[in-house]
Amino acid sequence: MKTKSVSIVVMLAILFTMILSACSGNKSDNGTPTSGGNSGGTSSTSGTSGGDEGSSPLAGKKIEMSILGIGGWLPSSLSVDMSPDFAAYAKEKYGYDVTFTFEEAPFTSLFQKAAASLSTKSQEFNIIISDSQWLGAFAEPGWIVSVNEIMEQEPELKNIEWFDPVVEKAYMTYPDGTDQLWGMPQEGDVMVLYVRKDLLSDPNEQANFKAKYGFDLPQTFEDFEKLTIDKYLKMAEFFTRPEQDLYGAAVQYSKEYDYFTGSLYPFIWSSGGEIWDQNTGDVYGVLNTENNAKALETMVSIKNYMPPGAENYGIAQITEAFTQGKLFSAYQWAAVGGAMVTPELQDKVLIVPIPGYEVNGEIRRITSIGGQPWVINKFNDEDHMRVAIDFLKWWYLPETQIEYAKRGGNPTTKAVLESPDFESIQPWFRAYKYSLTEERSRDFWHHPKYSEMLSVQQEAFTSYATGGEKDPLKTLETVACKQQQILYDAGTAKNAPPAACASVK
């Protein structure tokens, strides 16, 4: 008697909760942004669009803006460091007071923090500095404002000329291949090569190297433009001297975040490989090729030229090792140039594009694009929306971008990058500018399932790098199968994983 009533109650409870969950799920917005906050924000500014002098509807108000950015990442914090300049500008031009606070989280947890907040429709963060791959994950649930719509209202923003189409592709576009824009570039970034030019220009080293390998050590930026991967590996070998605590090269192998992936992709792309088919959404057959297996093998072979503990190397570890003088060269992001070139290493570092692959007589290199766009929280109220837009307009003014560059950030507008003295502002700007083109750099998928796909391959790749899986092709096949399944389930890929994937679970 008792158990019967208990089980009835339990079943009713489960039924009830299924209904409850269904209701709560439907409350969230889906897909494209509707009016609401967005049009509310822009309609009130139709009088002042175009940025005319005179007051804005916000004149006399005091507004607090919050930016969520990456912890311990200079380009992110610069946005807030420079905000007093914007405050002065806004006061004069629009007549309101604004202060900025900076919330931060490390790379690995930034998306979680942002998503956890945005899915509650909170205004906790007004502007969010996001990694470029998350645009899809932010746009689909309707958490961020469509940049196309903002640009319709603000011709100033629409007319900004970006340095290269790749800027728009990487930092603004989702879905890949369309003209829908969801973010604007905050920090441009590419993976480049840092080398110790004091070691390169030492006559003894030059002589010994020539004797051993039969070609000269590259000396100038132009020399490095012509450098191929096999020659680079020889250089790495030459400068690997454990007894002197010097090692030839460094890449990132860490499972954390996207460290391994960001370092691997240049090898795949430069050698002619692809990570997926953008049009069909297929991964299987595209990722797991002989070519890519060889690329993976090559990238992992660099371990031989790295200090012990290479398997844990991420951005921070490379910076630490390089600044402690342990590395002859390192693949590293341009964004951390300021930290890599310490006062002690001031004149000893040359920053160049990564080594290329020789394909059909030409040197071809495609490096990873890093950097961050920023996105505007859809749930901002009118005031905060207005300020966010004003802030962005100010951000892309040439004066602001130049100041940003001087402080160590990487600008992305054509006006600034093509200005005469640009390359001399920071030691990495030449390599940065050289690489930031469609032919020479590329981003990963901007898919909402980005995080899941990344996690799958980070696990598989680190397993290969530490000897858990011995065959590179098999590693890629495992990844391809799983990712094909993920994309198929998400409706992006038309094809389900083939029968060969049945053993991969």
Binding site: S24, W73, F102, Q112, A116, S122, T319
Partner: protein, 276 residues
Amino acid sequence: MAKRVRQGLYYVLLWLVSIGFFLPVFWIFLAAFKTKDQILAIPPEWFFTPTLENIRNMVIGLNFGKYAMNSVIVSLSAVTIALIVSFFASYSFSRFKPKGTDFLMFLLLSMRMVPGAAVVVPIYLMYTALGWKDTYFGIILFYAMFSIPFSVWILKGFIDGVSLRYDETALVNGGSRFHVMFKVVLPQVKPGLVAAFIFNMIFVWNEFLFNFIIGGKNVTTIPVALASGLYKTHGVDWTFIASLSLVYMLPLILMIYFFQRYLLVGMTFGTVRGEV
């Protein structure tokens, strides 16, 4: 004579064991007073000139006061509320043994067994729906729930150990139930209260996951601040982590030092009322 020597050696051994366990913690403490290069130095530096720079920077830096305040407010409130609620419940379980006592106590304990990442999912969705994310109310009450199972188990054990005669005598003498609970029984279970307090404090004080997911700008506590500030542009921010860990551990260490006797008795779950 031999006995004294043996005892001396015995004490030395015990101290070695204690120091052995303390060593890694000590290493972190030392790092709080070193410069970054000294922390990373090989061979490791055991002797060096200490600097207060790190602690100064940390205190002046981003919002330290606010996060510390939050940690204190959230932890103290949560554990205190938990103790009060648990005391009521334990008293009832012990004195009246209402139906479902065993079942409820078992359930309370097994709820604690689910990994945080599991519990946080529905809590997060619930808080989102109710608008409790990033509120003191939300996070304090959550941590209170977190602390209740253990407190109930300890307090019940202790209350069981207080003879019913006390209750009956007090009631017969005209005291109210409140009087019995708070003036007669409560003082006798002090060790249990202290043990439950300290034990739960350790968990709530150091808790990271929930504050990260269901907390937010307003209620951020130190562990989350620690994780957020892990990296600086030049690599891992060792000095920050070390100095923050040091400062953050101090209150708990002091608690354990000064209330040790209660802690040891308290952990007997009521089977001992005197010295341990």
